[in-house]
Amino acid sequence: MIPILSHTDAQTVSFAIWAVALPFVAFALNLLLFGKSKIAALISTIAIVASLVLAVKVFLSVWNAPVIHAQTTWFIIGATKVQAGLLLNNLSVLMLLLVPVIALPVHIYSIAYMKADEGYSRYFRYLSLFCFSMLGLVVVDNLILLYAFWELVGFSSYLLIGFWFTRQSAVMANKKAFIMNRIGDIGLLTAIIILYTLFGTFDIQALFGKDGFVQLSNIAAGMWAGPHSAIPAVWQYVAFAGIFLAVAAKSAQFPLHTWLPDAMEGPTSVSALIHAATMVAAGVFLLGRVYPLFIESELTILAIVGAFTAFMAATIALTQNDLKRILAYSTISQLGFMVLAMGVGAYASSLFHLVTHAFFKCLLFLVAGIVIHQMKHIKDDSNLDIDPQNILYMGGLRKKLPLTFIATIIGALALIGLPLTSGYLSKDGILIQAFDWAESRGAIFNIIPYAALLTSWLTAFYVARLVVKVFFGEFRLHKANPHIHIHMGDGSWLYKAPLVFLAICSLFPLFSNSPIFYEDAWIYKSFLPSNFLARENLYHIIIPALVNILAVVVMYAAFAIYGKRNAWAFPQAGLLYRLSFNEWYIDRFYSRVIIKFVMWFSNLLYWFDKKVVDGVVDLFTNMGIALAKLAAWLDRNIVDGLLHLVSAVVQSIGNFARRFQGGKVQYYLYSMLLVVAVVFIFKMIF
């Protein structure tokens, strides 16, 4: 059944399709026509601009309007008809808008940032492919297509992480990201299969929409009953586990988060777009899409994992020295907040935070890109043996990079969540709702909001540390090497324009009239369920105040420790320091235990394959050879032997007989005489 669309709806749908397809067109053009040309950047950027314009149109016509769901028959297997189409609701059009809005500044920035790189056009090709995958992911209405785009997103991320594939570390990092994402993909696939088994459809709207199958299903007496059939309830938990794995892999949640810090091997602009703003949000987006599936206890698991991830990543970020790694861990931490928000039922806040986080984290990464770029220039000019990403070499850059500094301050404040920024609006919403949620449950649940609260202070500390180390104090590299020539600046407008745009988007006016109350934000309002609780208890005043006052104190402490005295905040030999510095030993645990086990198991399988499987095959081969040899011997000696015997007999008879036919006339006579004599003798005897 194809619903009849009105004219405007049909137009909206075609706009959405073009918004998704244009980056792919750019990708195809770059791939086929402009393999090595510099025009690739222009084509990709134009495609994303057009995408943005179309996305804005789609957004304006769908936002807070009835859902548009257009589909057509994709394929039919037996009685199963699989539909493919677009599902444009608030969630998808918000993401549809967000992706090009973030991608456009990144494209512009990349034109300058990647200018000197050999793989310039390859870079834009991959970038367009990624944009296509991400845009496709958010609009499709069908779990199979969702899965396909989910994989495509992972694949294009793999390409971009390993963009500098000549570096060993980049190759390792993209392999790691890909494998971890595969683990998540398996989970998603499992969940899709289970959902199809129970409900018989892949249609997201039919499954998760209002009064969809999932809402109508219930778990009773150990069975998970859908409208048509029922399966054991354990499959519901397996489906949740699959979705959770997918989310954990894509959105870098514990225990599958370790690929994200390593993914920073890609170009910084890629980190900004993919590993901070958009792709990692895909997990949260998936949670938003399948939200009705989760039952109470599963949401609690999400909340616990989110809170734990947020806290763990924040503690790790405290002691890292690599600029991008700190930002990567802060991304993991913020994604933890989003998952936590989904877990505590703060659906609207979670998506709101996703949007605001995309802006300020993208901004911070672009800033980091500029800083790293400048440090790399110094390194190359002076032939220094330093890591250009190490913040210990930086310092005092605020005078050299004034605009970058201001942008960083705005991004940092938004990340910490101080008032007047967008981060404040979204993050405090999450915290408050977490407290509300915990209050309606047992005391033990209070751990989650308190962990989140602690995390936001830790965030304040490490962000302040980062900013102080990079922009305040004195330039430590210059101090250590007084002779080097330092020449740095904010760069051209290609650098500046994206920063300014993203910095403006990180402030509150874009999202809300009021800088204080998150409830006024328009994104937040649009996602609210009907049974929304109004601002009622004390938390709503205490928590923002508490968070912000303490955050300011913490920031000052960081400034005092790192800016003034330039000291270490933590004893470097302490257990906690080592735990944090070594990233909770999770990576080491993986490589020592899991990878080792997997390698051992693979080797075992290899051995098994080599010795047993190949051995059996070899045995059969040898048996075959032996049989063939036996057959050959038989053939040669028995079959051929018989023939040879026959021929030999015939030959000898012939040889014997031809003696009588030797052409000697007298011999004929002689033999005739002999025969006559023999006959005669016989006659005489018998």
Binding site: Q661, G662, G663, K664, V665, Q666, L669, L673
Partner: protein, 101 residues
Amino acid sequence: MIAQQDFMIVSVLLFCIGLFIIVSKKNAIQILIGIELMLNAAILNLVAFGKFDRANNGGQVFALFAIVLAAATTAVALAIILNVYRRYKTINPDKINQLRD
């Protein structure tokens, strides 16, 4: 009186000598002589057994026929031998083997 048996003994001896000449000699003329001896053995038999047909003298008549025929065949055979000799420059029958194999 010469007994019938003596004729036959002479005839057998003649025949055997002729046969021996035919199978052992390497000269076509000598073989021809052997053939003549065997013919004469047969003719001797015809003559010897002719006494049992006193009325018609069939044996003697047959012997005369045989002698004439023998003369004719000898003439033909000598002509052949002459031609063979022209062709092969030999009259050894062992060497005349062009039709062999």
